[in-house]
C-alpha cells in the first residue's frame, strides 16, 4: 500500500504577464511507494507551462523525501531552468533541509523560511 502523500498546486498572481508562478504544496512522506506517481504531477505541470515557469515548493508538511524524490527535484530544476524558469523551496523542515544541503541542492535551489519571502524573491528576480 502506498504511503500517504499529496501534492496540491495553487496559482499565484504574477507581476509580469510573461511569468507563471505556482505554489506546489507537498505533504506526507515521499517514498518508493508513491514518489513516481507524485512526480508525474509535477512533470505534467512543467509540460503544460513550457516557458518562464516559476515554482515555489512548499515543504511545510513534507515529512520525508527519499533519494529518488531528491533525484526528481534535481531533474525538475534542470527542466524548469532550461526554459527560463525557476524553482525555490519554502518552509522546509530541518531534516529535509539537512539532506538538501548535504546533497548540494541548496546551492542551486534557494530556500526560504516563509512563502512570502519565496514569493518576494520570485517576483524580484524577473
Amino acid at each position: 500500500m502506498a504511503t500517504p502523500a499529496t501534492i496540491t498546486i495553487e496559482d499565484v498572481q504574477s507581476s509580469s504577464p510573461d511569468m507563471t508562478v505556482k505554489i506546489v504544496k507537498f505533504s506526507g512522506q515521499l517514498d518508493e511507494s508513491n514518489v513516481d506517481e507524485k512526480a508525474n504531477m509535477v512533470y505534467e505541470l512543467i509540460e503544460k507551462n513550457p516557458k518562464n515557469l516559476n515554482l515555489i515548493f512548499d515543504f511545510a508538511e513534507l515529512e520525508y523525501m527519499n533519494s529518488k524524490s531528491i533525484g526528481y527535484l534535481t531533474d525538475w530544476y534542470g527542466k524548469v531552468y532550461e526554459n527560463g524558469g525557476k524553482i525555490v523551496v519554502a518552509q522546509t523542515r530541518p531534516n529535509i533541509l539537512d539532506i538538501l544541503q548535504v546533497v548540494g541542492l541548496t546551492q542551486l535551489i534557494k530556500t526560504f523560511p516563509t512563502i512570502d519571502e519565496a514569493k518576494f524573491a520570485i517576483s524580484h528576480s524577473a
Binding site: Y64, N66, S67, I70, D98, I99, V102, G104
Partner: protein, 397 residues
Amino acid sequence: MNTALLWIISVLLALIPVAIWLYILFGDKKNDKKMLSIIFSGGILAVLTVFAIQYFWIYVPEIDPFLWIGNNITDPTYYYVGIFILVGIMEELVKQMMVRYVDTKTVLIQTVNDSIRFSLVAALGFAFAENIVYFKTVMTVAPIQEIIVTFLFRSVFTACAHMIFSGIFGYFFGIAKFTIDITKNSHWEGKIYLGVHLISKVFQIPYAQAFKEYKILQGLVIAILLHAVFNYMLQMNQILPVIALVVAGYLYLKYLLDRKAGNLILVTDISEQRTSTIGKKDSEVVLELVGMWFDQKKYVDVIHVCERLLERDPDNNVVKLFKAKAMDKLDPENPYRKILSTIFSDERGELERNTIAYYRKKKEIEGKNIPQNSKEKLFRFVEEKKKQENETFKIDL
C-alpha cells in the same frame, strides 16, 4: 665443497632477490621495519611449518595426502594436478596464517592494501627460505650454468609468483577483514552477491559474516589455483606461459595497490570516533542517492556529496569508500581528479597510520600513562564492537 659454506652461500644468494624486492616494494615509503621483519620471519617460519608437517607424515603415512595421491592416482596429469593443488593449499594457508596471526596481535592491517603488502612480505620470507634449500641442493649436484639459471629464475619468477599468489589472497583477506564497511557500501550501491546470499541462508548466518567467509574462501581458491597452475606449467617446462602468468599477476596486483579505495584506513578507534551531526535516516537517504549516482557514473557529483557528508559525519567509512571509489573511477586525466589527488593523498601521517599509537600518544600528552596491555584492551574493545555490529547488521536483499 664444505656443507656449511654451501649453506652460507645459499643464504647470501637468497638474500639478493629479497633485498631487491623489498626495495621495489617498500623503498620509497615510510615503513615500520620491525613489523616488516616480523612478517618476513613469519614467512620463513611458514616454510619450516610446511617441512615439519611433511616430516610428520613420514612417521604417520596413513594421513599423508601426498602418499594417498601417489597410491590412488595413476594418470600423470591428474597426479600432478592433485599434488600441486595440495602444495598450493598448504603453502598459501601457512603464509596467510602468519599475516593473520600478527594482525590479531598488533592491528597490523588498517587498509586493504596493508593486507596485500604484508602478504607480499610473508611470501618473500617464504620464497627466501625455499630458495636457500633449492640453491644449496643445486650447488651440491649441478654444474655452474644450471646454478645460474636456477638462481635467476627462482629470484625473479618464483619469488614474484609467491608474492602474487599471497598478494591476491591478501587482497581478499583485506576485503573480508573490513566486511562491515564494504558490505554496507555494496548495499547502497545496489550490488547483490548471490553466492553470499546463498551462504547466509543455508548456514543461517548474518549476511556480513557470510560475505567475510565467502571472500576468504574466494581468495584462497584463486591463490591455490594460480599456485597449482604455476607449478604444473613449471613441471611441464612451459616457461613462456609461466612468465605470462607472473607478468599478468604483477599487473593485477599493481592495479589493486594503486586504487584509492585500497589505501583507505578502515580501522576505527571507537574511543576517538567523532559524532555525526546528521540524522541516521537522513544520512541513509543521502547514501542511497550517492549509490544511485555512483551507478549512473556521476562520479564528480558523488565526490562532492561525499565531501559534504564527511563534514557532517567525518568517520563514516562507507562515505569514505564511496568517495575513494568514485575517484578511482574518474578518468586519470580528469583535472578534477588531479586536483583532488593532491588533497586526498595516499600517504598518511605516522600518527594517523596507527590508531593505537595515536591513541597512546594523545593520552600521553594528556599526562595519562597507559600500561602496555591497554593496547590489547583497546584493540579487544574495538574488535568486540565490530563483532557486535557484525552480528546485528544484516542486509535485506
